[in-house]
C-alpha cells in the first residue's frame, strides 16, 4: 500500500494536469476534480497509514486500546472533500452559466478580451435628478 498509493496519486495528478490544459471548459473541470482526488489520496498516504486497533474508546475505559490507528488523516480528508465539493459545485454552475451567456465551452473563444468593462456597473437615475438641480 505504501508504495502503490503515492504512485496512483501521482498518476491521477498528472492526468488532471493534462485535462486542465485542454481547451474545453468541461475537461478543465474534470481535471480539477481529478487533481482534488489525487491530493486527497496523497494526504491519506502521507498520514502514516497503519493497520491497528480502531481509535475508539470502550465504555468504562479512558483511552483507546493501544496501538491504535491515526484518525486524523481521515478527518482532514473529509474536510477537504466537503470543501472541494462546494467549490466544484460552484465551478460547474459558473461554467454552465458561462455557456448559456457566451454560447461556447471552448476557452479560446470564451476568454477573448472582454468589451467595455463598465457594463457591470448599473447606472443610477439619481444623476438625472442631480443634473436638473
Amino acid at each position: 500500500m505504501d508504495t502503490i498509493l503515492p504512485i496512483i496519486a501521482g498518476a491521477i495528478f498528472a492526468t488532471g494536469i493534462y485535462l486542465l490544459l485542454r481547451r474545453s471548459l468541461i475537461l478543465t473541470i474534470i481535471g480539477i476534480i481529478l487533481i482534488s482526488n489525487s491530493v486527497n489520496l496523497a494526504l491519506f498516504s502521507l498520514g502514516r497509514l497503519t493497520t491497528e486497533n480502531p481509535p475508539l474508546i470502550k465504555a468504562g475505559s479512558l483511552e483507546p486500546l493501544a496501538p491504535f490507528a491515526n484518525p486524523l488523516p481521515q478527518a482532514l480528508i473529509l474536510t477537504a472533500i466537503v470543501i472541494g465539493f462546494g467549490l466544484l459545485a460552484f465551478a460547474l454552475a459558473l461554467a454552465y452559466r458561462s455557456y448559456r451567456e457566451l454560447g461556447t465551452v471552448d476557452q479560446d473563444e470564451l476568454l477573448q478580451d472582454a468589451e467595455d468593462t463598465a457594463a457591470a456597473i448599473v447606472p443610477r437615475d439619481d444623476f438625472k435628478k442631480g443634473g436638473d438641480a
Binding site: T28, I35, S36, A80, A120, G131
Partner: protein
C-alpha cells in the same frame, strides 16, 4: 488565553447571518452591513490594545491544549492586518451603499462581503496550517460569488480565470500541508516550527517550501503566477474591485511572510536558496507588473497591474530577511492597501461621472471636479512614494534595508520601478484629469456636484477618509513604523511565538 480573539471572526459571521435573515429588505441589510463593520473595527481596536500591552495573545479553541486543538494566535503582524482589514471592511461597506445596485443587494451582497472579511481575518488569526487552508477556502468561495455576481459577460470571463487558477492553487496548498503532516505529524504552526529543523530529509523540506511558495505565490500574484489578476480584477463593480485589489492579494503576502519566517527559515531548510529565489521573484514581479501597467489604457487594468508590481516590493522586503526588510514589507502592505483601494474607489467616481473606464474616452475631470483630482494625486503620489505621503516611508525603509545588506542591484530596480509607477500615474492624470472634456460625455458630466444632489457624496466620504489616513500615516509615520518594527522583531524571533502557543519549553 484571551477569548476576545474569536471576535474578528465571530462578528462578521453574525453580521452575515443577520444580513441573510433580513435579505428581503435592502434597507435593513445596508444598516446591518455598516454596523457590523463598525463593531468589527471596535473589536480590532480592543484586541490591538491587548497585544500592544501584553504581547502575543493565544486562544486554544475548545480548551484543547496545543498542538492537538486549533489555536488562534494574535501577534503584532496579525493585529496590524486585522486592523487594516476592519478599516477596509467599513470603508467598502460605506462605498457600497451607493455603488452596489439593488439586484446585487437582493442576492446577498452584504452577507458575502462580511463572509469574505471573516475568511480574511480567520487566515490572519489562525495558528494551524490546515485551519489556514480552511479559511482560505472560506475567503475564496465568497470572493468567487462576489466576482461573478451580476453575470455580465466580462464578469463571467474574469470569474472563470479567477476561479480555476485559485482552485488549483488551493489544491497545491493542500498538497503542501499533506507533505508537512507526513514529515512531522503535526499541523500546529508553532509545533511545526519546533519539529521542522529536526527533519532529516532536508531536501523534502525545501521542496515543501517551494510548494508553499507556489501556492501562496498564486494567491499573492507574484511573477510568474500573476496572469489571472489583471484579467479578472477589473470586471466587477468598483467596491468589489477595491477590496479584492486592496486586501485579498495581501492575504497571500501575509501567508508568505508567516510561513517563511516561522516554518521555512534558514535553520529548517539548512540553506538560503529560498530567500534568494524570493528575491528574484520579487524583482521580476516589480518590473513586469509596472511594464504591464505602462502598456494599458484602461483605468482599472492599469491599477490591477500595479497591484502586481507593488507585491514585488513586499516580497523583496521578506527576501531580505532582516528586521528592517520585514518591517518595510509590513509597512508597505499597510500603505499599499490604503493607496491602492483608494485609487480603485476614485476610478469608480470617475466612471460614474464619465461613463467609462477607457482613458482615451475620459477627460476634463480636473476642470470640473478639482477636488477629486486632488484626492487622486494624493493616492497616486503615495503609491509612487512621494514624501511626505505614506508610500515614501514604505519605500525608504525598504531601500535602507536593501542598502544595509548590500543588495544594490535589487534596490536600484526598486527605485527605478518607483519612477515607472509615477509614469503610469501621470498617464492617468494626463488623460482622465487634464485633457479637455471629451465630446461624447454623459449629459450629467460637469453638472452634478460631488457633494449635494446626486448622492455622489456617499462615494466621496470613503475616498476622503482613506486620503486622510494616507496623509496622516505620511506625516506621523513614526508610531506605525515602530509597530511594524515590533511585528518584524516578533517574526524574526519565533521562540516567542512558539512559547506563547505551546507554553514554556
Amino acid at each position: 488565553m484571551n477569548g476576545m480573539l474569536v471576535l474578528p471572526v465571530a462578528i462578521p459571521l453574525i453580521t452575515a447571518t443577520l444580513g441573510l435573515l433580513f435579505r428581503k429588505s435592502s434597507q435593513l441589510q445596508r444598516w446591518i452591513g455598516v454596523l457590523g463593520a463598525v463593531a468589527l473595527l471596535g473589536s480590532a481596536v480592543v484586541l490591538f490594545r491587548d497585544v500592544y500591552a501584553d504581547g502575543i495573545q493565544v486562544l486554544q479553541l475548545g480548551n484543547w491544549a496545543a498542538p492537538f486543538g486549533i489555536t488562534l494566535v494574535a501577534d503584532m503582524l496579525t493585529m496590524l492586518m486585522v486592523g487594516i482589514s476592519a478599516i477596509m471592511g467599513l470603508i467598502i461597506a460605506i462605498y457600497s451603499l451607493y455603488d452596489i445596485d439593488k439586484e446585487r443587494e437582493r442576492f446577498g451582497y452584504y452577507p458575502l462581503l462580511h463572509i469574505l472579511i471573516m475568511g480574511v481575518n480567520g487566515s490572519f488569526l489562525t495558528g494551524d496550517i490546515f485551519n489556514l487552508y480552511v479559511w482560505f477556502e472560506v475567503m475564496l468561495i465568497a470572493s468567487f460569488i462576489l466576482l461573478a455576481l451580476g453575470n455580465s459577460k466580462n464578469q463571467l470571463q474574469g470569474a472563470l480565470k479567477y476561479v480555476f487558477i485559485n482552485l488549483f492553487s488551493s489544491l497545491v496548498f493542500l498538497f503542501g500541508v499533506a507533505l508537512l503532516y507526513g514529515m512531522t505529524g503535526t499541523l500546529n504552526m508553532a509545533d511545526l516550527a519546533v519539529r521542522l529543523p529536526e527533519v532529516e530529509n532536508t531536501g523534502l523540506v525545501t521542496t515543501t517550501a517551494m510548494i508553499f511558495m507556489v501556492a501562496f505565490g498564486i494567491k499573492a500574484a507574484v511573477f510568474p503566477l500573476f496572469f489571472w489578476l489583471p484579467a479578472s480584477y477589473h470586471t466587477p463593480p468598483v467596491a468589489i474591485s477595491a477590496i479584492f485589489g486592496g486586501l485579498l492579494t495581501k492575504v497571500g503576502v501575509y501567508a508568505l511572510i508567516r510561513v517563511f519566517t516561522l516554518l521555512f527559515t534558514v535553520e529548517s531548510a539548512h540553506n538560503d536558496y529560498l530567500h534568494t529565489i524570493l528575491l528574484w521573484v520579487g524583482g521580476f514581479t516589480m518590473v513586469i507588473g509596472v511594464l504591464g501597467a505602462a502598456s494599458h489604457m484602461e483605468f482599472r487594468k492599469i491599477l490591477s497591474f500595479h497591484i502586481v508590481s507593488q507585491i514585488g516590493y513586499m516580497i523583496m522586503g521578506l527576501a531580505f530577511n532582516t528586521a528592517m526588510g520585514i518591517m518595510g514589507a509590513i509597512f508597505y502592505v499597510l500603505h499599499n492597501i490604503l493607496a491602492k483601494s483608494n485609487l480603485f474607489l476614485i476610478s469608480g467616481v470617475a466612471q460614474r461621472l464619465l461613463g467609462t473606464f477607457e482613458l482615451k474616452k475620459m477627460g476634463g475631470l480636473y476642470k470640473h471636479y478639482p477636488f477629486l483630482a486632488v484626492l487622486f494625486l494624493i493616492s497616486a503620489f503615495a503609491l509612487a512614494g512621494f514624501p511626505p505621503l505614506s508610500g515614501f516611508w514604505a519605500k525608504l525603509s525598504l531601500v535602507k534595508a536593501g542598502l544595509s545588506i548590500e543588495q544594490y542591484v535589487i534596490t536600484g530596480v526598486a527605485i527605478l520601478v518607483g519612477l515607472l509607477t509615477l509614469f503610469s500615474m501621470t498617464k492617468i492624470w494626463l488623460t482622465a484629469f487634464w485633457s479637455p472634456v471629451p465630446d461624447e460625455k454623459p449629459e450629467h458630466f460637469g453638472k452634478i456636484p460631488l457633494f449635494g444632489a446626486g448622492k455622489l457624496y456617499i462615494l466621496m466620504i470613503p475616498v476622503m477618509i482613506i486620503a486622510g489616513l494616507i496623509i496622516m500615516v505620511g506625516l506621523y509615520a513614526q508610531p506605525l513604523l515602530e509597530l511594524c518594527m515590533t511585528a518584524a522583531e516578533q517574526l524574526l524571533d519565533p521562540s516567542v511565538y512558539i512559547e506563547a502557543v505551546l507554553g514554556p519549553q
